[in-house]
Symmetry: C2
Subunit: 145 residues, 2 copies
Amino acid sequence: MDENKLFDQLIAFTAAVHQVKHEMTQGIKPEGITPVQYSMLEYIAVSQPVTLSQISDCQQMSMPNTSREIKKLCDKQLCEKYDDPSDRRKQYVRLSGEGERVMQEAFGHIGARFLTRLQDASEKDLQEIVHAMDVLHSLVFYTDK
Amino acid sequence: MDENKLFDQLIAFTAAVHQVKHEMTQGIKPEGITPVQYSMLEYIAVSQPVTLSQISDCQQMSMPNTSREIKKLCDKQLCEKYDDPSDRRKQYVRLSGEGERVMQEAFGHIGARFLTRLQDASEKDLQEIVHAMDVLHSLVFYTDK
DNA sequence: GGATTTTGTTATCAAATGATAAGTAAATGG
DNA sequence: CCATTTACTTATCATTTGATAACAAAATCC
């Protein structure tokens, strides 16, 4: 296996994913939410409940900034903090009802846009796509530490 | 095919790619280059030569901001503008020698990090990965218009 | 050939983001 | 039980980024 070729492909691939995702999420961001806040909401939606430290780690932002942005999101009633009863230093964050609604809508828009992208794909293509994502997710783009 | 399940998987997958790429590029950014500038350099490196308008479109930033950031990169001697002889409104941008060097180094670091991720992968895994990227790149994450 | 469109520039402003210092409270670890 | 570490907060500041207006020059379009 030619490693250089693989790396070039990986770089081109991640760039393409990045760009397509950017296009997908253009214009769907709920009113009054900044890009960083949207990305935090997405992470919370997928991984909730999470602690502030986890958000800080995974989104690679400092704790003070994480705290500030989560506070804004809580002020906007899109998520809620609650204490970990077994360790009172920790605070978990989860989406509020409104937050769930907002993210469902956002994901719905993204889904619709993917659908137009996939409209020419056959059933067999779709199964290949699912399999391809499984492969890459487990072998390359895993996020455990 | 259950579409909702596919969309959920797509969202989780793009989020994972995004996060891993973020990790990969942590700390490798050349001195004195901002995230947006790095992302422009990456695009130029892969697609050069490109016009300012193309950068503006693909990176989804306004022309004034594109112009400003490219100017900064030219001031830093990382890229160069030159005229399109057939249309004197247009300006092409390409990496300078130093820019090529800097990006080669950055890509090298990313490659090394991918290598540690892939160290447990068998030859068969690698071939599956290549195929999976081909499938997704062509069927889902294509970027032509 | 004059209006319009395309391509890019400069200037300016506001908002978002990142970084740092200093502090609190709870848990952990000799 | 006292020192240290962990989890988070508040405040502040500089930088980056995004947005807009106003402009110029070349190409295109009737």
